[in-house]
Amino acid sequence: MKKSVFTGLYILIAILIVLPFVIPNAFYMDLAIRMAINAVIVLGLNLLIGFAGQISLGHAGFLGIGAYASAVLPTHFGWHPLLAMGAGAAATGLLAALVARPIFKLKGHYLAMATLGLGIIINIAIRNEAQWTGGPDGMPVPSLGLFGFDLTSDKHWYWVVALLLSISVWASLNLIDSPFGRALRALHGSEVASQVVGVDIVRYKVAIFVLSAVFASLMGSVTAHYVGFVTPNLADFFHSIELVTMVVIGGMASVYGSIVGAVLLTALPQALATFEGWETVAFGAILMLCMIFMPKGLVPTLAAKFGKGE
């Protein structure tokens, strides 16, 4: 077996351990936490897009369900935050499973349309149900109590998300190199060939769609508790696109690419803030240039250049 796959994980863990000691101030700490949260979401989305070859333009909607479950249920109904997070994930999983069966009989652009529509509907619902969600202005989220102490300081948050990220990377690597993961990649490579060897392709697509949606929902809850405030922007079309872009720019079907994509695209808006007024233009131009010159994404392109496969 190739050991090199896990080397990346060890390097990642080493970086995650050293990072808080070299981060100069709270601003960068916050950035690091948001990068890690996005990386976990993107890992899940990459399983769907990069490995299974299915598109989703509505994942921010699932993120929104998780985030708002963590905001609404404790605030209005007094639920324990962990219970709320679980309920959000369960609701997301159920919704994803319900719509996924018909959706995954579709291909390519029809699939893009269906997932896009689903995401937009969720977002509009969040915006409109102002008596529960605060509408376009958003609402505060109570802090997350874990085993008796409140998660409030950035330091604590950092270790929580670093742990989540490491586990997610480990689990993704395991999954890809398993019978389940091979079936996923096979249906990406050739649907008919995978069916002929016995893969029930709709079942696999549904399974990975639900899994990535639940990932997004859970991380939506985490984001909500970490930031302490949620707004509908978390669930809008543009955010769905941002997530897909992280997958593609980092590298489709690349676990480490997911992390690189999440890190770069989380940092980019901060970097572009200096271009006052030109942020949108610069962001759009960078997306285009990356895709034109590195259509396979950063990590696979660099890996190919330095000749060491993944």
Partner: protein
């Protein structure tokens, strides 16, 4: 009752005509290149914003309107030449991100150069409403519908009666075969982007006196145009027009009778239902994969 219904119908058909033009734009580009151009909505915005800008800068109305169609067409061609042609055969996701990148660049430039304000155009033939069975119809709506009808007829003539049109149609069916019989498919690509952008811009100009415009109206208009194109069955021109009108009317009816705050959700609920039960849209044929 009837008056109210007619009122919703009029506004639905008017907006629907804009969606139809956008959907035709999606269809043209999809047929020529298999690309879903997520920048289509920005051409609608560009048409409206440029018409406002050129008239404000003192150009005579016909000149201003012509420029507001020509400039977006040039932008469309630039997008095709600089961003689509270099990545021929890339994966669907890659192409989607490229066109979204293009839409951000266009929107961002308009925001920088023309500002974030909301603008309107004067109606082409006054604001005196026409009364029909208790409902009112704006003269501008007639402009929207009339011009859309003319465009549809012109496109039909172009694709069925002219050599250039038939060449574009042939390319959409089978690119390799079209190249073998000597059709210049890169010209076809060029034409599709120019025409799509011009159609979008035209829709944007026509509807601006009614719905107003600003730098950020393109996203929703574009997405609804995409819905309309899929409702009709991607790649089907007639389907795009019917889809556009249907989306517009249902949206207006839904806003009127059910809930105006969920107006924007209606097209997306519609498309989910259609895809659940008719996975290739209303007019899309069945396809069988060859293996």
């Amino acid at each position: 009752m009837l008056a109210q219904f007619l009122q919703f119908l009029f506004s639905g058909v008017t907006v629907g005509a804009t969606y139809a033009l956008a959907a035709l734009g999606f269809t043209l580009i999809y047929n020529a290149s298999n690309v879903i151009n997520f920048a289509q909505g920005e051409f609608i915005m560009l048409g409206g914003m440029l018409a406002v800008f050129f008239t404000m800068s003192g150009l005579p109305l016909p000149v201003a309107l012509a420029l507001a169609i020509i400039v977006p067409a040039i932008v469309g061609v630039l997008v095709e030449k600089l961003a689509i042609e270099p990545v021929k055969g890339a994966e669907t996701v890659t192409l989607i991100i490229i066109t979204i990148g293009a839409s951000l660049v266009i929107r961002g430039l308009v925001q920088v150069w023309l500002g974030k304000n909301t603008h309107s155009l004067p109606a082409f033939s006054g604001d005196e409403p026409i009364h029909i069975l208790g409902a009112t119809l704006l003269p501008q709506s007639l402009w929207v519908l009339g011009v859309t009808a003319l465009v549809v007829i012109a496109l039909w003539y172009f694709f069925n009666r002219t050599l250039q049109g038939k060449a574009m149609l042939a390319t959409s069916f089978n690119r390799t075969a079209a190249e073998l019989v000597g059709i210049n498919t890169s010209w076809v690509l060029f034409m599709s982007f120019a025409m799509s952008a011009a159609l979008g811009a035209l829709g944007g100009i026509l509807v601006t006196p009614i719905t107003l415009t600003s730098y950020d109206v393109g996203i929703m208009l574009g997405l609804k145009g995409f819905v309309a194109a899929v409702v009709g069955g991607l790649g089907n021109g007639l389907g795009a027009v019917v889809g556009g009108l249907l989306v517009g009317v249902l949206e207006a009816m839904g806003a009127g009778y059910i809930s105006s705050s969920y107006k924007d959700a209606i097209p997306f609920v519609l498309i989910l239902f259609i895809l659940f039960f008719m996975p290739r849209g209303l007019f899309g044929g069945k396809s069988t994969d060859r293996v």
